[in-house]
Amino acid sequence: MPAGLATYILRRLLLLPVILLIVSFVTFALGRYAPVDYVEIQAGPRAQPETIERIREERGLNDPVPVQYVRYMGNVLTGDLGVSTRYQGFPVEDVIFPRMWISLQYNAVVLVLTFAIGLPMGTWAAMRRGTWQDPLSIGVLLVFASAPVLISIPLLQWLFAVKLGVLPSGGWSEAEYLGVELGLFSKHAVLPILALTLPGVAGIARYMRGQVLEVLDQDFVRTANAKGLQAGVVVTRHVARNALLPIVTILGFELAALIGGSIFIETLLGIPGIGLLAFESIKSRDYDTITAIVLVGSTIFVLTMLLIDIAYGFIDPRIRVEGSIS
């Protein structure tokens, strides 16, 4: 491993705990300074002030926030994420992980589909530059890329559930296969996957088209064509490989878009995933659950970004020289 790459990876790794500390502290503090006292919610409307005070004392809520934070993080490290107030008495980890599994199922499919369809489509559009197919496909893609999930969902519902009547208008199947909950294999999964894949594919294809066009103008492509290589070989060996480099970064943005998109998808379609849980927890001021969701979500996100950065450092030698992606 070259020396530049090692320091580069080390630097990214050192940043990781710092980011997580900042995110967790901000989330925790926001929850603790929140306008509604969550002990009062938990104790119920008819609780005596003494009861509330006792709960407070028991749970250490009278301590300064930094002290509480340190204790909380200590618990988190041992796998204790607190207690949900909305689902009375249930540990947060028991509430969020089953929900996360549901979101993970369809999001993984969306991520794969997005790249599997978007990359070839963008390459195809770029190769058709100058014909009517390029502007047409890019124009259609632009419409899909411009419609937020929030907007495409009601339209898809109208088309598939109301007009055609072929898909359920929402919800999630709890069908089990081999003892594992796999709602993915039911009709319920089609609408969310479709709604998230359309804008994803559109975005990736548009980006890939730009990259391919950039590469097509390079000298080595002209050389490859001139020395009589078959068009297919030029596209796969020369063009696509070079155009794919910056696409690695897009994976991160795609992931962020999925986290955001899931909230809307699940709220609109009533899918009991992590997005809906986040939304409901914020509405019902279940702060331990929110903090845990943000913390787990950020950790996954930051780790993925880190992997992408490292992969990028391996793929593209220029990064190692500069030391950071600018």
Partner: protein, 321 residues
């Protein structure tokens, strides 16, 4: 010392204005760009002039005319309370204008450009602190943090605004919806500056060693003058593209936040609110216009910004010159 008093160095007087005109001329020769600009101007213009353009107020209910079909009286029909959908859309456009312009000005222009300029020009420790901060902001899932920030801080800010009202005697602050506008664009701005900062920084790094910068420094220009009079004008094209694209993104973000009930608060109109009133299977089935109207406006607006961004990139790309 004002700009006029100093004798212009040979490098600064000419090149500032001309390229912008050239870009504009080239842009206006492209029909797609013209259409995009027209749509943006119409929607933003209607939003800015809402009090004069909208045929009805955003909360003007006509209970005998609920769910009216499109007619001369109500060009796009009415909603469940008999409110004119066209007027509500125009007032919503005003919210979009306020939130996205404020977020771009504070986040992109102020925070982003300043941070980028400082990082690129100062280099060294300043650079790494600013860029690590940008990394941190860019590597958290924005929507979750914005959700929790708005959910926990909005009531506090409303409280604060009420205190200010009591102190000053202005009684319009809370009812004007200012606290929620403020919070929405604030939250969007905090997470919106990193992209611009990166772009500006890398451009400044490239320009720092150019002869015109070196000679300006040699002729005694101070740091602020160097940054804002010599470097910034050379970044205009780049910023133009970034801002165009971010306007589309911000419009979408505001709609999303408001839809979740944590953005602009009712009764203040917003496309997000209109969407949330229009969804639901019974509405989608029977009153499709309720969802179609805000949808059409948002898609047209966002698409125009994306198209314009594409066209600008094309026009500005050195290959096409």
């Amino acid at each position: 010392m004002s700009y006029a008093e100093t004798s212009p160095t040979p490098f600064e007087a000419e090149p500032l204005k001309n390229p912008s005109y050239r870009v504009l001329r080239r842009l206006l020769r492209r029909p797609v760009a013209v259409v995009a600009i027209l749509i943006i101007v119409v929607i933003y213009g209607a939003g800015v002039l809402a009090p004069w353009v909208a045929p009805y107020g955003f909360n003007e209910a006509d209970f005998r005319n609920r769910y009216a079909e499109p007619s001369l009286e109500h060009p796009l029909g009415t909603d469940n309370l008999g409110r004119d959908l066209l007027s509500r859309a125009i007032w919503s456009a005003q919210t979009t204008v306020i939130v996205s312009v404020a977020a771009v000005l504070t986040g992109g222009l102020f925070l982003g450009v300043t941070a980028g300029l400082a990082a690129g020009y100062a280099g060294g420790r300043t650079d790494s602190i600013i860029m690590r901060a940008a990394d941190t902001f860019a590597s958290v899932p924005t929507i979750l943090l914005v959700l929790i920030i708005t959910a926990t801080l909005l009531p506090r800010i409303v409280e604060l605004a009420r205190d200010v009202e009591d102190l000053t005697g202005f009684d319009w602050i809370v009812s004007s919806g200012m606290p929620s506008y403020f919070l929405v664009f604030g939250a969007l701005a905090i997470f919106g500056w990193t992209g611009i900062a990166r772009v500006v920084r890398s451009q400044v790094l490239a320009l720092r060693q150019e002869p015109f910068v070196i000679s300006a420094r040699a002729s005694g220009a101070g740091t602020p003058r160097l940054l804002f009079l010599h470097l910034l004008p050379n970044l205009t094209n780049l910023l133009l593209v970034s801002f165009t694209l971010s306007f589309g993104g911000l419009a979408t973000a505001e709609v999303g936040l408001t839809f979740l009930g944590i953005g602009v608060q009712p009764p203040h109109p917003s496309f997000g609110l209109m969407v949330s009133e229009g969804v639901g299977l019974s509405n989608v089935r029977e009153h499709t216009t309720l969802i179609l109207v805000p949808t059409a406006f948002i898609v047209m607006l966002v698409m125009s910004f994306n198209l314009l961004g594409d066209q600008l990139t094309d026009v500005l790309s050195p290959r096409h010159r």
